[in-house]
C-alpha cells in the first residue's frame, strides 16, 4: 500500500486523498471472501440436490431391479395324449380347450409324490404361477409333437416363491408372520438342491399386460397406451401450439384482446393438471361422447394441458430470432408468411422442439387428469388403437403401488425406472437438439 520509498528518512504520511488503487486493494479481500462464500453456497446447493436425486434413484433402483428377473421352476411334464387330445385329431380347438391346469397339478404331484392331503396339495400348486397352464397351452399349440412325451418345462414360479428366491421374504421370521409356510419352504429347498429353480430375464414384464398376479403383470399394455396417447397428444398440440404462437407473435395486432389472450395462456400453463381432467370429462366425454378410458380422450386432455407450454416456448423461440432476419426477408419482397416459414420458423425450431419435448415429458408423467377420464380401469388387454380402452404408465404405477402384494412393490419400482428412463431420454433429446441447432446466425 503506502510503502515509503526505500532510503527515505521519515517518510511523509500518505496524502489525505488516497489513490484509487489503494481503495480498491483495501476492499479486495472482502470482495473475494464474499465471492468464495457465494461459490461455496452454490456448490453446496448443487451437492444437496444431487444427493436427494441420488437417494431417490438409489431407492427406486434397489427396490426395482429384481423385477427384471423372474424365477422359473423346472417341472417334468408328461403331455398325455389321452387327456389332452382324446380323439387324436390334433384339432387346435381341442388343444386350446384342454385341461392344462390339471396337467400342471398332475405334474407337480408326480414330482412330489410325498405331498398328500388337500391343504398340503394346495400349497404345492401355489409353487407355480397361475400363468403356467397358459404357458403349457402355448407350448402344445406351437409344438403339437410334444404330445405323448415327457418334457422338462421351466414354468413361471408363483409370486411367493419368486419373492423367497429374491430374498424378499425373510425365512427367519416365525412361521405365523411369514407368507410362506414351513412345508412350502422344504419343497422350495428340495427344488433348489435338485437345480430346478432358476432366475431368468423377465421378458414378460415388457410383453404382458397387467394382471392380478404380480409374476404375470407386465407394462406392455401401459406402454402401448402411453405410446398412443403421447403420439396423438404431440400430433394435436404441436401444430396447434406452433400455429397459435406464430399467429400471436408475428401476425396478431397488439391490442387488449391479444393481451388478454396472452395473460390467459400464461394462466393456463399454471392450472393444476387435474382441472384439465375435469374439463375433459365434462366436455369431451359428456358433451362430445368421446369414448372414455381411451388414448383418444387422454390425448385430447393432455394436448390441452401441453398447449400453453408449447405456445409459450414457441413464442420465446420466435422472439429470439433476430428482427434483422425478418427485415432481410421482407426487404427482398418475401410475403410475411414466406418470411415466417422460410426464415423465422427454421431458426426458431430448436427452441420450439425443446419446448414441445418438455411439454411431452410432462404429459408422459401425468396421471391426475387421466384418472378423471377413466384411464385408471383395470385393463389386461394391450390396446391396439386409439379407441381401445387403455391405461398409461404413470397410472399403471399408481395402480400397482396400491396393491398389497410384495411382488407388486418391485414391479412398481421397475415401472418407475422405465418411466424415468423415457423421461431422461426425452430430456436428453431436448438438450441435444438445442446443441445441434445452436443459433446459426
Amino acid at each position: 500500500m503506502n510503502n515509503p520509498a526505500p532510503g527515505a528518512s521519515a517518510p511523509p504520511p500518505a496524502p489525505a486523498a488516497r489513490r484509487t488503487i489503494d481503495i480498491v486493494n483495501a476492499s479486495l479481500k472482502r470482495r473475494y471472501a464474499r465471492e468464495a462464500r457465494f461459490r461455496f453456497m452454490g456448490a453446496a446447493a448443487v451437492f444437496l440436490g444431487l444427493l436427494f436425486v441420488g437417494v431417490l434413484f438409489g431407492d427406486i433402483v434397489a427396490k426395482g431391479y429384481t423385477a427384471f428377473a423372474q424365477t422359473y421352476i423346472q417341472v417334468p411334464v408328461y403331455f398325455d395324449s389321452a387327456t389332452l387330445d382324446p380323439d387324436g385329431s390334433r384339432d387346435p380347438q381341442v388343444l386350446a380347450n384342454a385341461d392344462y391346469l390339471g396337467l400342471v397339478k398332475a405334474s407337480l404331484r408326480t414330482l412330489f409324490p410325498q405331498v398328500t392331503g388337500r391343504a398340503q396339495q394346495r400349497a404345492l400348486y401355489a409353487l407355480i404361477s397361475a400363468g403356467a397352464p397358459q404357458q403349457l397351452q402355448t407350448m402344445v399349440r406351437q409344438y403339437p409333437s410334444v404330445l405323448g412325451t415327457t418334457r422338462d418345462v421351466w414354468l413361471i414360479a408363483g409370486a411367493d416363491v419368486d419373492m423367497l428366491v429374491k430374498g424378499q421374504i425373510d425365512r427367519e421370521l416365525p412361521e405365523a408372520d411369514r407368507r410362506i409356510k414351513d412345508s412350502t419352504l422344504t419343497l422350495v429347498d428340495q427344488l433348489k438342491t435338485e437345480g430346478r429353480i432358476e432366475q431368468r430375464f423377465n421378458t414378460g414384464f415388457f410383453t404382458n399386460g397387467t394382471s392380478r398376479e404380480p409374476e404375470l403383470a407386465g407394462i406392455a399394455g401401459a406402454l402401448a397406451g402411453t405410446f398412443y396417447t403421447l403420439a396423438l397428444t404431440l400430433l394435436l398440440s404441436f401444430p396447434i401450439g406452433v400455429g397459435a404462437a406464430l399467429y400471436l407473435q408475428e401476425f396478431a395486432p397488439k391490442n387488449r384482446w391479444t393481451d388478454l389472450i396472452e395473460v390467459n395462456i400464461n394462466n393456463l400453463a399454471a392450472v393444476p393438471s387435474i382441472v384439465f381432467g375435469l374439463l375433459g370429462l365434462a366436455v369431451f366425454i359428456n358433451v362430445f361422447g368421446v369414448p372414455r378410458s381411451t388414448p383418444l380422450v387422454g390425448a385430447l386432455v393432455l394436448a390441452l394441458m401441453t398447449l400453453p407450454t408449447i405456445i409459450i416456448a414457441s413464442r420465446a423461440a420466435l422472439q429470439s430470432v433476430p428482427p434483422s432476419i425478418r427485415e432481410a426477408a421482407l426487404g427482398v419482397g418475401a410475403s410475411p408468411l414466406q418470411t415466417q416459414f422460410h426464415h423465422v420458423l427454421p431458426l426458431a425450431l430448436p427452441g420450439i422442439m425443446t419446448g414441445a419435448i418438455i411439454g411431452m415429458a410432462r404429459a408422459l408423467g401425468e396421471s391426475a387428469p387421466l384418472l378423471m377420464i377413466g384411464m385408471i380401469a383395470f385393463i389386461v388387454d394391450i390396446p391396439q388403437g386409439i379407441t381401445d380402452s387403455a391405461t398409461v404408465l404413470p397410472v399403471q404405477i399408481y395402480l400397482w403401488a396400491d396393491s398389497p402384494e410384495r411382488g407388486f412393490v418391485e414391479r412398481t419400482s421397475a415401472a418407475i425406472l422405465v418411466l424415468l428412463g423415457f423421461m431422461v431420454v426425452m430430456n436428453l433429446a431436448a438438450v441435444l437438439l438445442r446443441r445441434r441447432f445452436e443459433r446459426r446466425w
Binding site: 432476419i325 426487404g331 410475403s335
Partner: protein
C-alpha cells in the same frame, strides 16, 4: 423564392441548434427538393411512432441514376424516412405514415398497393449485414426463387453469378457458394446483402448506413460499388459519415429532428451550406 430562401437563412442563422431543439424555428426546407428526372417523389411525408412525430412534412425527390445521401445527427429520422420508401415501416406497430410517396408516378401508400412486390422494386440494404443463415448461393437466389424470376437452374446460376459480380464479390466466393453466408467477413456479408438485393432487379436501392459496421477498406470497396450501381439503379443512402456522403452522392439532404432542413447538390451542401444547422453539422459542431 430565392429571395425568400435567403431571408430564411438570415433569419435562422441566428438560431442555435439548441433553440431549434426546444421549440423549432424551422420554417421550411432550403434548397431544391426536386430533380429533373425523379424516380420517387415524396411530398409532405409525416411519420408518427405512437405520439412521437418522427418525420415532419418532408418533401424530397429521389432522382433516376442518382445517389441521394441523407445525413443528420442520430435520431433525426433518416432511417425512418428511408423505411417509408419501401413501406418497411408497415411492420412496426404503432407507426403511421401520412403524405404522398410515388414510385414512377404510382402512389405506394395506396390502399390497393401490395407492399410485397413494392419491396422487390425498392430493395433495401441494412445497417448491420444480415445475410440469411443459409448458403451464399441461397442468399442471392432467394429473391429470384420466391418471385419466380428464373425458369431453370442454369438461369438461376447465371443470375446469382451476375449479381455477385455486380456486387464485386464473385471472385472471392465463386469457389464456396455452398458455404454459409454468415461465415463471410463483415464487408463481404454486406456485399452479399447488396448482391441479394440487386438479384431481384430493383429500381431503387435504399441503404441505411451500409458501412457503419465495416472497416475502412471494406467501406472503400462498398463506396466504389455504390458508384458503379448508380449506372443501373437509383440509390438513397443514409450515412453518418460526411466524407462518405461527399464521395458517393450527387445530392445531399440534411435532416434535423424530423425536419428536412436543407437539400442540394452534394458539392454545394458541403462547400457552401445555406442553413446554419447544416453548416454546424458538417463543420462538426454537433452530431
Amino acid at each position: 423564392m430565392n429571395a425568400l430562401a435567403s431571408e430564411i437563412v438570415r433569419d435562422t442563422s441566428a438560431v442555435s441548434a439548441a433553440d431549434l431543439a426546444k421549440g423549432g424555428h424551422f420554417s421550411g426546407t432550403i434548397g431544391d427538393i426536386t430533380t429533373p428526372d425523379p424516380r420517387m417523389v415524396c411530398r409532405e411525408v409525416n411519420v408518427w411512432y405512437g405520439d412521437k412525430h418522427a418525420i415532419k412534412d418532408v418533401s424530397l425527390d429521389i432522382g433516376n441514376h442518382q445517389v441521394v445521401a441523407m445525413i443528420g445527427p442520430s435520431g433525426c429520422g433518416k432511417s425512418t424516412f428511408l423505411r417509408c420508401l419501401n413501406r418497411m415501416n408497415d411492420t412496426i406497430d404503432g407507426c403511421r405514415v401520412r403524405g404522398s410517396i410515388t414510385l414512377d408516378g404510382r402512389e405506394i401508400y395506396d390502399k390497393g398497393l401490395d407492399p410485397v412486390p413494392l419491396r422487390a422494386q425498392v430493395g433495401m440494404v441494412f445497417q448491420k449485414p444480415n445475410p440469411f443463415p443459409k448458403s451464399i448461393f441461397e442468399n442471392v437466389a432467394y429473391g429470384a426463387r420466391i418471385h419466380g424470376l428464373t425458369n431453370s437452374k442454369a438461369e438461376l446460376d447465371a443470375l446469382v453469378e451476375t449479381s455477385l459480380r455486380k456486387a464485386g464479390l464473385w471472385n472471392e466466393v465463386k469457389d464456396r457458394l455452398d458455404q454459409p453466408g454468415t461465415g463471410l467477413s463483415g464487408g463481404q456479408q454486406q456485399r452479399l446483402c447488396i448482391a441479394r438485393t440487386i438479384a431481384v432487379s430493383p429500381e431503387v436501392i435504399l441503404m441505411d448506413e451500409p458501412c457503419s459496421a465495416l472497416d475502412p477498406i471494406a467501406t472503400a470497396i462498398i463506396e466504389e460499388l455504390i458508384d458503379e450501381l448508380r449506372e443501373h439503379y437509383s440509390i438513397a443512402i443514409v450515412t453518418h459519415s460526411m466524407q462518405q456522403a461527399a464521395r458517393v452522392s450527387q445530392r445531399t439532404a440534411y435532416f434535423h429532428l424530423g425536419d428536412l432542413v436543407e437539400v442540394g447538390e452534394t458539392t454545394q451542401v458541403f462547400t457552401n451550406p445555406r442553413h446554419k444547422l447544416t453548416e454546424d453539422y458538417i463543420t462538426g459542431r454537433f452530431g
